[in-house]
C-alpha cells in the first residue's frame, strides 16, 4: 500500500510545476466577476484537461482507495501547491469524502477563499461532506456573501438536506427575492413541513404559492387563497390550484368559483380550471349559470378548452335558440 501511495503522490507531484510552494489562501487566478445566481459553482473553464492535469486527476481518483490519514497530506499538498484550479477542485471533492476534523478545517478555510472557483467548490464539498458544524458555519458565509455566494450556500444545504437552515433563511429574508430563492430550495428539498410553517405566517409570497403548487399541497394553497393576505398572491394561489392534479383540486376550484361574488376571484378560479383542463367542471358551471353574461363567459372558456364538454354546451345553446 505504501508503494501505491508513493506512486500516487509522485504522479500528482510530477504533474504540478512547483508542488507545495504556495499557500492555499493565495488565489490561483484573479477573482472572477459575479455570475448569474443560477450558476453558482464557478468551475475552471479552460477547455479539456491537458496531459499533466489528466495525470494528476487520475492520481487523485486513486486516492479514494487509500486510508484517509495517508490521503489527507497529499490532498493538502495539492491544495497548497501550484496545481491548476481544476485539479484543486477535484482534490476538494476527494477531501469531502474524508471524515476528519483536519479535512473539514481545510474545506472551511477554502470556503472563505477570495478565489470564486475554489470557494464555490469548497462550499459544495461541505454540503457533500454533511458535517453539521461545517454546515452551520456556512450561515456566516451566507450572511456576508454576494447573491452568488448565497446561492452556493443554499445549494450546499440542499445537498446535505439541511432543511432547517434553508427555512431560517426564508424566515429571516430581507427581500422577496431572497425569500423566494430559499422557498424554491425548500420546494426542491420536499420540505413540506417547513413550507407549511411559512404559509402560516401573514403575507405569503408568490414563491411560496409556487412551491405549494409544485409539491401538490392543496390545503396550503387554499389557505392562502381564502386568507386575508395580498390580493394578487391570493389570486395566484387560486390559479395555481389548477396545477394540483387531483379531483379534490378540481372540486376546490368549482367551489371557490361558486361561493365567490368577486369577479377577480371567479376569473382566477376559471383560469385554474383551464390549467387543470377541467372542461366538465366548466360545463357544470355553465349549466348552473344564472345570467346571460356569465353563460357567455363560461361558453368562451369552454370553447378555449376545446373538449367534448364544449361541444355539448354549444349544442345545448343552439338547441335553446330553436
Amino acid at each position: 500500500m505504501k508503494h501505491t501511495l508513493t506512486t500516487l503522490a509522485a504522479l500528482i507531484a510530477m504533474s504540478g510545476a512547483a508542488l507545495a510552494q504556495t499557500p492555499a489562501e493565495k488565489p490561483a487566478k484573479p477573482a472572477k466577476p459575479p455570475q448569474a445566481a443560477s450558476a453558482p459553482a464557478s468551475r475552471a473553464k479552460a477547455g479539456e484537461p491537458g496531459g499533466d492535469e489528466e495525470l494528476a486527476i487520475a492520481a487523485l481518483e486513486g486516492l479514494m482507495a487509500q486510508p484517509a490519514e495517508r490521503a489527507l497530506p497529499i490532498l493538502k499538498k495539492v491544495l497548497a501547491g501550484s496545481q491548476t484550479t481544476r485539479v484543486k477542485q477535484r482534490a476538494l471533492f476527494v477531501l469531502s469524502q474524508i471524515d476528519s476534523a483536519e479535512a473539514r478545517q481545510v474545506l472551511a478555510q477554502t470556503s472563505r477563499s477570495s478565489d470564486a472557483a475554489m470557494r464555490g467548490e469548497a462550499i459544495r464539498a461541505i454540503g457533500i461532506g454533511g458535517d453539521p458544524k461545517s454546515l452551520d458555519a456556512l450561515k456566516e458565509i451566507y450572511d456576508t456573501g454576494s447573491a452568488d455566494v448565497k446561492q452556493e450556500v443554499l445549494q450546499a444545504w440542499l445537498i446535505s438536506d439541511h432543511k432547517e437552515a434553508v427555512y431560517q433563511v426564508a424566515l429571516n429574508a430581507k427581500t422577496e427575492d431572497e425569500a423566494n430563492a430559499a422557498i424554491r430550495m425548500l420546494g426542491a428539498m420536499g420540505a413540506s413541513e417547513e413550507l407549511r410553517k411559512l404559509g402560516d405566517r401573514p403575507n405569503a409570497s408568490r414563491g411560496l404559492v409556487e412551491a405549494f403548487a409544485i409539491s401538490g399541497d392543496l390545503a396550503s394553497l387554499r389557505k392562502i387563497a381564502e386568507g386575508n393576505g395580498d390580493r394578487e398572491v391570493r389570486l395566484d394561489a387560486i390559479r395555481k390550484i389548477g396545477i394540483v392534479d387531483s379531483d379534490a383540486a378540481r372540486t376546490a376550484l368549482r367551489d371557490i368559483y361558486t361561493r365567490s361574488t368577486d369577479a377577480g376571484i371567479k376569473d382566477a378560479a376559471l383560469q385554474g380550471m383551464l390549467i387543470a383542463d377541467d372542461d366538465e367542471g366548466v360545463l357544470a358551471l355553465y349549466r348552473a349559470a344564472k345570467t346571460p353574461d356569465e353563460k357567455r363567459a363560461l361558453m368562451r372558456m369552454l370553447s378555449t378548452m376545446d373538449g367534448e364538454a364544449a361541444l355539448q354546451a354549444i349544442d345545448a345553446a343552439l338547441e335553446d335558440r330553436k
Binding site: A41, R43, G47, M64, A65, A68, F93, I98, G127, I159
Partner: protein, 238 residues
C-alpha cells in the same frame, strides 16, 4: 415463496390479478427481506435501462429471432428446460424494462403515488455486506458507469438528444439519491444530490462552463465507482 419474476410483475403491475397483488403487497409490507429483494431487482433493471439504446444490427436481430424460434420448439419438446427469456412473464418484464426510463421520469415529476415510490416506501435499508447489498451496489455501479458514458456522449448529441439525455440523467439521479437515502447511505445520497444542480444548469443552458462542469461530474462519477469498486470503505472515508 414469492419468486423474483413475481416481484417484478407486481412492481410493473403486470400479469397479477387483484388477489395476487394484495398477497404480494401484504408480504412486502411484512417482510423487510422481501422488500430488499424487490429494491435490488428494481435497481438492477433501472441500471440496465440506463444503458443508452443503440440500433440492433440486422444480423444480431435475426440470430435473436432464430434463438426464440428454437426456444419455442424446445419448449414444446421439453417444457422443464424452457430458456429464461422464453418465459412469457419474463418477456413481459423485459418489455417493461424498455419503458422504465420513461416511468422513472414520470414518477419523479409526478406526486409520489406511482409504483416506484410505492415500492420504495416498503423497502428497508439493505444489510451491510452479503449478497443483497452486493447486488444493490452492482446496480449502482452500473448506473454510475452508464451516467459517465452518457455525459461523455453529450458533446456529439443533437440539442434535442442532449436535452433528453440530461433530463433522463436528472430523473434517474434523483431516484438513486432517494434510494440511497432509504438504503441508509446518506453520504452517497449527498454526492448524488450534488450532481443535480449542475445537471439542471446544463439542461437549462445556464452554466457558462458546461465542459468544465461535465468534466467535474465525470471525475466524481469515477471516484464513486472507484470507491464502490474498492469494496469496503477505507478507514476514515465517509
Amino acid at each position: 415463496m414469492i419468486t423474483d419474476d413475481e416481484l417484478l410483475l407486481y412492481y410493473y403491475r403486470d400479469g397479477h390479478d387483484a388477489a395476487e397483488r394484495a398477497r404480494i403487497g401484504a408480504a412486502l409490507s411484512e417482510d423487510p427481506q422481501l422488500a430488499r429483494r424487490l429494491h435490488t431487482l428494481v435497481a438492477r433493471l433501472d441500471a440496465a435501462a440506463a444503458v443508452p439504446e443503440v440500433p440492433v444490427p440486422d444480423a444480431a436481430m435475426q440470430r435473436w429471432r432464430d434463438a426464440l424460434d428454437r426456444a419455442s420448439t424446445e419448449t414444446r419438446a421439453a417444457p422443464a428446460r424452457r430458456p429464461f427469456f422464453a418465459d412469457r412473464r419474463w418477456q413481459a418484464a423485459a418489455a417493461a424494462v424498455l419503458v422504465v426510463t420513461l416511468a422513472v421520469t414520470l414518477q419523479v415529476l409526478r406526486p409520489k403515488t406511482g409504483p416506484i415510490f410505492e415500492a420504495q416506501t416498503t423497502v428497508e435499508p439493505p444489510p451491510s455486506g452479503g449478497a443483497e447489498a452486493s447486488a444493490y451496489e452492482n446496480g449502482l455501479k452500473v448506473y454510475l458507469a452508464s451516467t459517465e458514458r452518457r455525459l461523455a456522449s453529450l458533446d456529439n448529441a443533437s440539442p434535442e438528444e442532449r436535452a433528453r439525455l440530461i433530463e433522463t440523467i436528472i430523473a434517474q439521479n434523483r431516484l438513486y439519491a432517494l434510494a440511497a437515502e432509504r438504503a441508509n447511505e446518506p453520504q452517497l445520497a449527498r454526492v448524488l444530490r450534488a450532481f443535480n444542480p449542475i445537471l439542471e444548469d446544463l439542461r437549462d443552458g445556464r452554466s457558462d462552463a458546461s465542459a468544465a462542469d461535465i468534466s467535474q461530474l465525470s471525475f466524481e462519477l469515477r471516484v464513486m465507482q472507484a470507491r464502490l469498486g474498492a469494496g469496503a470503505t477505507p478507514p476514515n472515508m465517509l
